[in-house]
C-alpha cells in the first residue's frame, strides 16, 4: 500500500463557501478505530492553493479530454485523477460503489458477523447485490465512454477495511451506515454538477436505493426509533445530506488504499 504523499486533515478543511442552506456535516467514524491514515487530496478546481493549473470545469462536457496536455508516455506511477465534467462525476460514483461493493463482499466473505440471524444475512445479501450491480453498471458505462481514452477510466481500487471488525455486528452496521449515508450525501451533492439529464436520472435511480439502504441499516441498529431518518442526517427543513466531493473523499479516504485525486470535478451549475 502506497503511503500518502501529503497529510491533509480533511475533517477541518472547510468546503467552498456553503452555497445553500443544506447542512453539511461530516459523519464521524469515531469509535471504529480507523488508523490515522490520511488521504492525498487536492481541493476542487476553484481552490488555487491545491490546483495549480487544473481546469475550472466551468463548461460541462460529457466527454472531456481528461488530460489537457496529454503525455504520449504517461508515467505509470502517476496518480489517477477522476477527471472533469460528467466523466469525473461518473468516476467519482464508481469509486464509491467499488468501496461499498468491497465492504459487503468482505462482510459476506467473513460469514457475516457473529450471531447474524437469517433475516440480516438476507439483507446483507441484498446490499451486496445492489452495490455490485451499481459498480458493474458504472464499470460498463464508463468503459463505453472511454473506449478512445481508457486511461481516463478509474482503475480497480484497493481498499483497507482493517479498521472494521467483520465479526462484530456493531462494527459492521456502523460502517454500513456510514457508507450508505455518505453515498446519499455524495449523490445529492453531485446532482447539481452533472450536465447530462441522462446521467442525472441514472444517479437519481441509484441514490434513492442508497437511501433505502441507509434507512434499513439505521433501523437495524435502533429498530424502535426515528433513527431510520434521524435528526443527525435530516435537518430542520427536512433535507437530507448533500456533500461536496472533497467532503466525501475525506470520509471515504481512510478505506481507500489506492491514491487518486479529484482536481477537476465540475462545480455546481447554480452555485446555490
Amino acid at each position: 500500500m502506497k503511503k500518502p504523499l501529503v497529510k491533509v486533515d480533511v475533517l477541518n478543511a472547510s468546503s467552498k463557501n456553503s452555497k445553500n442552506s443544506s447542512r453539511r456535516k461530516f459523519i464521524k467514524l469515531s469509535g471504529l478505530g480507523i488508523a490515522g491514515s490520511s488521504f492525498l487530496l487536492y481541493g476542487c478546481s476553484e481552490d488555487d492553493m491545491f490546483n495549480p493549473g487544473g481546469d475550472q470545469g466551468m463548461t460541462p462536457d460529457p466527454d472531456p479530454d481528461p488530460d489537457p496536455d496529454p503525455d504520449p508516455d504517461p508515467d505509470p506511477d502517476a496518480v489517477f485523477d477522476l477527471g472533469s465534467g460528467d466523466l469525473g462525476i461518473l468516476n467519482y460514483a464508481y469509486a464509491l460503489e467499488q468501496l461499498e461493493a468491497a465492504f459487503y463482499t468482505a462482510v459476506r466473505g467473513g460469514g457475516y458477523y457473529e450471531g447474524a440471524p437469517q433475516e440480516e444475512k438476507d439483507l446483507f445479501d441484498d446490499l451486496y447485490n445492489h452495490e455490485v450491480i451499481h459498480r458493474e453498471f458504472f464499470r460498463t458505462a464508463i468503459a463505453a465512454a472511454t473506449t478512445d481514452t481508457p486511461e481516463a477510466m478509474l482503475p480497480d481500487l484497493e481498499f483497507d477495511l482493517s479498521s472494521v471488525d467483520l465479526a462484530s455486528r456493531d462494527s459492521v452496521l456502523a460502517t454500513a451506515m456510514a457508507l450508505e449515508d455518505t453515498g446519499v450525501g455524495a449523490y445529492n451533492g453531485a446532482g447539481d454538477r452533472i450536465a447530462s439529464a441522462t446521467y442525472l436520472t441514472l444517479a437519481g435511480k441509484i441514490v434513492s436505493v442508497e437511501a433505502r439502504h441507509a434507512s434499513a441499516i439505521r433501523s437495524l441498529i435502533n429498530p424502535d426509533s426515528a433513527d431510520f431518518a434521524g435528526d443527525d442526517v435530516i435537518d430542520e427543513n427536512g433535507l437530507d445530506l448533500a456533500y461536496d466531493p472533497s467532503e466525501v473523499i475525506g470520509i471515504a479516504g481512510p478505506f481507500i488504499a489506492t491514491e487518486f485525486t479529484a482536481n477537476n470535478l465540475p462545480e455546481p451549475m447554480t452555485g446555490a
Binding site: 443544506s22 447485490n129 441522462t198 439502504h213 427536512g238
Partner: protein, 287 residues
Amino acid sequence: MSIIKLLDEFSSEKLTTKSSSRREMFNTLGSFGKKAAAAAIPFGMAANSAKAASSSAMFYDHEGPLGLALVLEYLEAEFYMKALESGVIPAGGRAEKVYMQISKHEDAHVALLKSVLDDAGEDTTSPMFDFTAGGAFDPFNTSGEVDMDTSYAQLLALAQAFEDTGVRAYKGQAPALMGTPYLETALQIHSVEARHASEIRRIRGLEGWITLNNRGADMPEATQAVYDGEELTTQADIDLVGYDYGDSPLVGDPAEAVSQAFDEPITAETATAIASLFIVSEDDSDG
C-alpha cells in the same frame, strides 16, 4: 395560476360519481392517466419530457415541478397528521415514532416548497383531501364499518404507496429542475422520502426496496400504478441480468436483484393521477 388547477380536471369526475363507481375507478387508474395527459398542464410539466432530453438549457422554470411536489407534500403531511390524530396507531410503538418523524419532515417540506412558490407568486392553497378515496378505504377508522386492525393495515399500506410515489415523482422531476437553484433541494427531499419508504415497507414486513413491479403483500390493487415500471433490468442499454459478474456473482434471482438496485421515475402525469385519487374539489359537498 393555482397549482391546484391542473388537478381540477380530475376532481370534476369525482363530483358526479357515487362511492360504488369510485371503487371501479380504482381499478382504472389508467383512465386518469390519460385524462392527465389531455388536460392543460401548466408551467413546466408539459415540457418535462423535452427538458429531460435537453442537456444544456439553463433557464427551466421551477414552478411546475415544485408545484407538483407541493401537492404531494400537502397530501402526505395531512395524511400523517390525521393518522396520528386518529387513534388507529398503537400508542408508544414503533409505528407511532416513525409516523411522528415522517410527519415532522413532511410538514417541513410543505413549508419549504410553499415559501419558494409563494415567492414566485403562485397560489399555494392546499387541495382538499379524502383519504378514504371515496369510501374505498377507512384508514382513520371513521366509518364504523371496519375494525381497527383493518384500518391500521390500510393506514400503513397508504403510507407505503405515498412514499414510494413521492420517490418516483421527485426523481421524474429532477431533469426539469436542472439549472435551477432547486435541484439539489429536490434531491435532498427525494432521498428523505426514500428513507421513509424503506422504513414503512419494513414495518409492513416487506424489504425496504422494490422488487420487480411487486406492490407487495396486502397492498391494494389500486396501488399497482405506483409500482408499474419498476421491473426494469436494463439501464443505459446495459443488460444487468445477462451481465457476467465474474468473481462477484449475484445472490438469488438476478432480475429481482437488478430491479431492486434502481428506482424508476414516474411522470408528472402519473404522479398527479395517483394523487388525484385522494383529492376532492372544494365544491364536492358529497363527502
